[in-house]
Symmetry: C2
Subunit: 193 residues, 2 copies
DNA sequence: GTCTATATAAAGATAGAC
DNA sequence: GTCTATCTTTATATAGAC
């Protein structure tokens, strides 16, 4: 277990993570983050001397590793069938801030250092897409499903679950999970009669 | 046919549309738009006195109406079966700049006037989601498909097609359309053996 | 480790000449 | 209708006191 360098550095990282993931790199200011962390914005530079761009890279990387762990935990703790595993993944994804790959690719990453952008891109792929593709692959080996491009299907599952983050807030979180469950059933069985 | 107020106003609107849709409200500057339109940024305010926010509202509204028309045209010109109609919709969507609903909802719209934001939100629903839901509904009435929440399925189809805008550029546009076609088949028949 | 004060640069916007 | 010049505000960032 890694000890956080300091409590208030940690508050800064959490505030930054939540804001950057929700609104994107350009839409969030250092002052927004400082305010959410409860400190003066000048103090941010004590904790992260590299400034806004470094903060984004650190926090996005961290967020993606957290996803990697969250996804894997969800999958291993789920019942050993495709529907349960995908539902566990969806429940995890909906418990986190929206992870908007379109924005990440087209807006956030072009604003930062290219090398860092590449690393984040690769990590996003490994941490979030691959675990879903692996679940599908396992089901394929068991003979319960079959498809020539499981990566494509994994991407579609991911996109459609994340898309639920854009639906106007239903009564409770439960409802979004219910919608996710409906979608998983569609991916498995289709909507054809 | 509505005449454009002026050629250069139209160039401004097109530049703004393309940039805003790709990178979002906050990530695009008035200077970016002016440069893409080939004029000085001060001249933007001659064409759109309301400034950046008004420009975003006008251009986003216009973009959504264009989607409404593009979707309907795609559907009526397609063969009269679900797969063809959804493929036509996907082909249209992939021919346009990415329409990122997560970013629109969580980042762009909160930056502008609330009333305008509501209208854009409703329009997005009517222009893009409803046409897909209608196609599904028609297929349902014909008895070829069946699902208790076609709006949810329509949203998933939309999200997963749009998600293809985040995949690293394949060889040609065709490949994305091919991926879209694979996904449509999955939505209809599922991946279960 | 946090603040005040300040520097620097960029963005949105306006005035007015041409 | 477009430009130059300018204004104002905001954002990122630094210096230095406490």
């Amino acid at each position: 277990m890694v000890e956080p360098k300091s409590q208030s550095r940690e508050r800064v990282l959490q505030a930054a993570e939540s804001l950057f993931m929700k609104r994107g790199y350009e839409a969030v200011t250092v002052k927004d983050i400082a305010k959410a962390a409860g400190i003066h914005h000048a103090s941010i530079y004590h904790h992260i001397p590299g400034g806004k761009a470094d903060l984004f890279v650190e926090v996005t990387t961290r967020h993606l590793y957290q996803h990697q762990k969250g996804m894997r935990d969800a999958i291993v703790n789920a019942e050993d069938d495709l529907h349960s595993q995908l539902l566990a993944v969806a429940t995890w994804l909906l418990s986190q801030p929206p992870l908007d790959f379109i924005r990440l690719t087209n807006s956030d990453l072009p604003s930062i250092d290219e090398k860092a952008a590449d690393e984040i891109n690769n990590l996003a792929y490994e941490a979030v897409l691959v675990p879903i593709a692996d679940v599908l692959e396992q089901a394929c080996l068991k003979g319960v499903v079959d498809h020539p491009n499981l990566g494509n299907v994994a991407g579609a599952i991911l996109s459609s679950i994340q898309g639920l983050h854009a639906v106007p807030e239903p009564d409770v979180l439960n409802t979004r999970i219910y919608m996710a469950e409906q979608l998983i059933a569609v991916f498995i069985r289709g909507i054809a009669k």
